[in-house]
């Protein structure tokens, strides 16, 4: 397996905090643009859309950690919690912009939207599933839940699929940007069932390489 230059251990912690800080920059920047008239003529829709898109990007990044380690030998496991939580924060912001700025807290129309429109129903179910994941994204919960923690966090797979479906259903037509995002989610999820055979094949190969050395 190729080796990559690794970050000095003492920078591991700060690099995670830097990721949180950088990760929240798009939201802050779009909020600033929207509040100062820089997001075009329909800023609520644009802001909402961009937050949703970044939520999906962070979820995609979360899903990419395992294949990056398996296939390229890049170990970014220490960033996975931050990426997942950033995804959750963006989902929450996406949801609150819809609730407050778009629907203007008109709860009767919000209820009707959730009940009648499949893509909104899917979005709400995904948020509900993300809450326990976010609440257990800490060392204490990992220790406390033991093996059940891994089982619980497999919920990210249906959530990612739901997020992609939500995006697919929300756009009027599939153009390049939605296609790329949805394709990445599908590819990363499709990797999971084939992961075991790929890994055992790789291990077998390296064992053979060692034996013939």
């Amino acid at each position: 397996m190729p080796s990559w230059p690794s970050l000095p251990r003492k920078l591991h912690g700060p690099s995670v905090w830097a990721l949180y800080a950088f990760g929240l920059c798009p939201a802050a920047w779009y909020f600033y643009l929207g509040a100062t008239g820089g997001l075009g003529f329909n800023p609520v829709k644009t802001f909402q859309h961009l937050l949703g898109l970044w939520a999906l990007r962070f979820i995609i990044a979360t899903l990419a950690i395992t294949p990056l380690r398996d296939l390229l030998g890049i170990n970014w496991l220490r960033y996975r919690r931050a990426l997942g939580l950033l995804g959750f924060y963006y989902v929450l912001m996406h949801f609150f912009v819809w609730l407050i700025l778009d629907r203007r807290l008109d709860f009767s129309s919000i209820g009707a939207d959730i009940a009648k429109r499949p893509y909104i129903t899917i979005g709400m179910v995904c948020i509900a599933c993300l809450v326990p994941l976010a609440l257990t994204s800490n060392n204490w919960s990992i220790r406390r839940l033991g093996p059940r923690w891994s089982e619980l966090h497999k919920l990210i797979y249906p959530v990612a699929l739901g997020g992609a479906l939500h995006y697919f259903l929300a756009v009027k037509s599939i153009t390049f940007v939605p296609f790329i995002h949805i394709a990445l989610v599908v590819t990363l999820l499709a990797y999971r069932p084939v992961r075991k055979p790929i890994m055992s094949w790789k291990r077998g190969k390296s064992r053979v390489a060692q034996a013939t050395r």
Partner: protein, 313 residues
């Protein structure tokens, strides 16, 4: 005798600093207008029109919004794509072919159409996506040209077609094309003949910009915006309901009639309210209730008497 005598220059002959300093700007503008003229663009030339009927007294949507926040998928699906990607489109020369079930089919040159009695029509425009504008169009009733071609008694519908020019319209090339081209729209003949229905050749006192459907487009103010087809090259009178683009693309979401109706939801969102573009303070939130037939019920409700508007969305 001095070796050199400076010439005497009267004050009136000295070019003011601001003007000579703006020479580059002048040259730039001149070059740009030459390029535009060379490209055959009839871009924003002044138009004169008489005030027309049905004008709303609502606040006009700023011209910048009307010319930069557009849906014109031939130039891309983003709202700013049409204004950014349409500069190579050549709206001149242009002609509109009117054929089908007519006694006298005819090809109208754009110059001929511009000579018709032009009126300013200030209409509300409601997009199916839930936003709206108030736009001062310039144009003439569609009936003015329908009258010239003698529709036959068998003609029941009017079908419209947008130009197909992949070389000039970036949305018509590439892997991810959102729709099938040409873009087709249609009206029932009585809708087409209704005095509210116009062919627009300008807005805000000038000829149409490419992103707004230059050089000629339909405006049907009581229907969702996508019915108001842009850059029209063909108008056909037909017996059967035309196979319109959005209906073909997703019949459950976009019907043939597509009359603005707050009581009939789009499957994915409510149509009860709309965001008025260019208004509002923080994040430009400016929601208002959507009106049946976009507020033109008094004029057009009679066209649909006895019809189930929920089934014929």
């Amino acid at each position: 005798m001095p070796a050199y005598r400076p010439p005497h220059i009267p004050a009136c002959e000295i070019t003011p600093r601001a003007i000579f300093m703006s020479r580059r700007q002048f040259m730039g503008t001149a070059a740009a207008s030459f390029v535009l003229a060379g490209a055959g663009g009839a871009l924003a030339a002044p138009l004169t029109a008489s005030p027309g009927p049905f004008a709303t007294d609502e606040t006009l949507t700023p011209k910048e919004a009307v010319t930069t926040y557009n849906n014109f998928y031939e130039f891309g699906t983003g709202k700013s794509d049409p204004s950014q990607n349409s500069q190579h489109f050549k709206p001149l020369p242009w002609s509109v072919k009117v054929d089908g079930m007519v006694g006298k089919p005819k090809e109208f040159g754009i110059e001929e159409l511009m000579k018709l009695a032009l009126e300013e029509r200030t209409y509300r425009m409601r997009c199916v996506e839930g936003w709206s504008m108030v736009i001062p169009w310039i144009g003439f009733p569609l009936s003015a040209i329908l009258d010239q071609v003698d529709p036959l008694g068998s003609a029941k519908y009017v079908s419209f077609e947008t130009v197909v020019r992949p070389g000039e319209m970036s949305g018509q090339t590439g892997l991810f094309q959102p729709l099938e081209w040409p873009y087709i729209e249609g009206l029932r003949l009585d809708e087409a003949r209704h005095p509210l229905t116009i062919l627009a050749v300008g807005l805000y006192g000038e000829t149409l910009l490419n992103q707004n459907g230059a050089p000629i487009r339909l405006v049907v103010p009581w229907k969702y915006g996508f019915k108001s087809i842009k850059s029209i090259v063909k108008i056909s009178l037909v017996e059967e309901e035309p196979q319109t683009t959005w209906k073909n693309s997703n019949a459950r979401e976009y019907g043939f009639y597509s009359n603005v109706n707050p009581a009939v939801d789009h499957p994915r969102w409510s149509q009860a309210t709309e965001q008025r573009i260019g208004e509002g303070g923080f994040f430009k939130v400016a929601n208002r209730p959507t009106l049946p037939f976009n507020g033109y019920g008094e004029q057009v409700a009679g066209l649909y008497e006895g019809m189930d508007l929920k089934a014929n969305y």
